[in-house]
């Protein structure tokens, strides 16, 4: 039966080449774009190395110090007394007037070291610097490298794929050893090769020489916790920054909650800590706020440029999903329309099939199957196109912050999308076909 459906579906596609072309063009183009969006979404939000545990991560990129200003508002009431006299009464209210003195930014190592180590529901955590740029020199050539200073836990929180060598350990961090982990891109740029032979070689960064201990694969996305070209023990950072006792400095923290559901608990503990934090007496500010959030919170807040992650997600994703839905709906409606119009064309065939024993379910399955064949062919073309575009985009680093991925997972999503598209666009026309009245159609 399936073989018969398949052969018939292919014959039907051959019968109307123009219709087939229009349908396939729409389907393959739509699915190609969807594939690229899925691929980008997976690269940005998927649980890919080195963020396999992204669902458990809570990011703490910055701290805000602030002082709110208050106004006192007086209200005077005039009360007419019965004896002809007037009594005056007044109330006063003290409330924030909306003005604020504040300072936002990453934190100092001393703040993180003193206060951010003892939370419950946290399996692991890492402190790392914000990125900075370091000039490296080789044979009179200057290479500018995106640099992160991290602790040893960084390599357990973020599971980078090591192509050669190993991460540096806690001893290296404690003893401020001049060791370095580099990405394959940095290895290519600096040493001209990515091989085990690079391990143990030295890189000259500023006045210092660092020994390469590991080469990692460049992550799919340039998240500001993993986007470095080189990674150094945080104790090798400028000593003034390391010893800074202010609240703010160049560091951030990432916590690995014991489960995805415990991220809220970690966020609440951070919020509680901030609310109850007593500012040093010499501070210009009265209170602090910690902006902790999930990867999605951080992405939305950074994109919308606000500190309120919930509001940012609404502002970002409602328009984004509406656009995506619209983008999907248009070709879908078009395909449904094309299919429905073809019902009339094939009425006689359906009636003959029913006359000779096909029941409505047979007809329904046949036409859904035909539509799935069409969408799968379109999907395959879309896949090939998407694959070519992904290769081109990645080879030329066209998007900048993201390398598009082409994994089994993305492929599985894609098959699901095709199935959904095929079913959605096929069910209504197939249902109408299955209801064909034999007598009327054969008249």
């Amino acid at each position: 039966m399936i073989k018969n459906y398949l052969l018939l579906a292919l014959k039907v596609l051959r019968r109307k080449p123009f219709y087939t072309f229009i349908s396939l063009f729409g389907i393959s183009f739509t699915l190609m774009i969807l594939m690229l969006i899925t691929s980008m979404g997976d690269a940005m939000f998927g649980a890919n190395q080195p963020m396999t545990e992204v669902d458990r991560m809570v990011f703490l990129p910055q701290l805000e110090r602030y002082t709110e200003f208050y106004d006192t508002t007086y209200t005077v009431d005039t009360i007419a007394m019965g004896d002809g006299t007037i009594r005056l009464d007044s109330t006063q209210e003290v409330a924030p007037n909306g003005n604020m003195n504040n300072s936002n930014g990453p934190m100092s190592f001393s703040f993180l070291d003193k206060h951010m180590r003892d939370f419950t529901d946290v399996d692991d955590y890492t402190f790392l610097s914000d990125n900075s740029f370091t000039d490296a020199y080789l044979d009179g050539r200057k290479v500018t490298l995106n640099t992160y200073y991290t602790d040893a836990n960084y390599w357990s929180v973020f599971d980078f794929k090591f192509l050669h060598g190993l991460p540096f350990g806690s001893d290296d961090v404690q003893e401020a050893n001049k060791v370095i982990v580099i990405t394959e891109r940095a290895a290519t740029n600096y040493f001209g090769e990515v091989s085990a032979g690079v391990i143990g070689r030295e890189m000259e960064l500023g006045q210092e020489k660092y020994r390469v201990v590991g080469i990692v694969q460049r992550p799919l996305k340039d998240d500001d916790t993993i986007a470095g070209d080189i990674f150094l023990p945080l104790t090798t950072i400028d000593p003034r920054q390391y010893a800074n006792q202010e609240l703010q400095g160049p560091f951030q923290a990432v916590f690995l909650a014991s489960s995805p559901g415990k991220r809220e608990s970690v966020k609440k503990q951070l919020e509680f800590f901030a609310t109850n934090f007593v500012m040093p007496p010499e501070s210009d500010f009265e209170r602090i706020r910690l902006y902790a959030g999930t990867a999605m919170d951080k992405f939305a807040a950074t994109t919308i440029q606000t500190n309120d992650a919930d509001q940012a997600k609404l502002m970002l994703f409602i328009p984004l999903f509406s656009l995506l839905a619209l983008f999907l709906a248009l070709p879908l409606i078009n395909l449904i329309n094309l299919n429905v119009s073809r019902v009339f064309e094939r009425k006689s065939e359906i009636a003959v099939r029913k006359a000779f024993g096909a029941d409505s379910r047979d007809i329904l399955y046949q036409f859904i199957f035909e539509n799935l064949v069409l969408t799968f062919i379109g999907g395959f073309l879309g896949l090939v196109l998407a694959f070519l575009i992904i290769r081109y985009v990645n080879a030329n680093d066209l998007i900048g912050i993201v390398r598009l991925s082409f994994s089994v997972k993305v492929f599985a999503y894609f098959i699901l999308v095709i199935l959904g598209f095929g079913l959605l666009s096929g069910i209504l026309p197939a249902y109408r076909m299955s209801r064909t009245n034999i007598g009327t159609a054969l008249r």
Binding site: M1, K3, N4, L8, K11, V12, R15, S348, E349, A351, V352, R353, K354, A355, F356, G357, A358, D359, S360, R361, D362, I438, G439, L442, R443
Partner: protein, 221 residues
Amino acid sequence: MIELTNISKSYRTDTIETLALQRMNLSVPDGEFLSIMGPSGCGKSTLLNIMGLIDEPSEGRVVLAGKEVTDYNGSQTARFRNEQLGFIFQSFHLINDLSVVDNVELPLLYRRVGGKERRRLALEALERVGLSNRATHFPNQLSGGQKQRVAIARAIVGKPNLILADEPTGNLDSHMGGEIMDILTRLNQELGTTIVMVTHDERMAKKTHRLVRLSDGERVS
């Protein structure tokens, strides 16, 4: 055996009701070759459609092959049509995308017969109508008479008890029409298949066992 008792059929629109058949009684014994004649719009095709479970009567009782089929649901009628009935249409209604042999296999497909057996039975049916050498052709490559022979092969491949033919020679010249009638007569004689045929052609009707005439939805002879 076909038993139609007090069959009426009316078609209703918002403003008008058309009576296509009025209290029709008809009995067709097994193995009979019956023809139905009458002017256009007299209810011949409606009667054939009711016998073929393609249309439902507004009133009355239909018994086919000893079974009361009046209240059958969609899948029951589909199965009954598949196992007991064969149809031949005036304009052939072959599926142009399928080869001759694939067209003939169609009823067996819905009987879930395996591929090899389907092919064997379809070729046997084509042999019977003298078209086994056209098995891999497509309908558009055939003449009208050949198309109707394919349609007959399709109607008999499932070995139905009853063949319902709606003006099978209507679109053919007299020579081709004669050939088709010969095949139907032979099927009736050799296989004992009951055949009910609607026709406008007296000469064709004379070749059948019995003629029933309709006029304005009523049986007149």
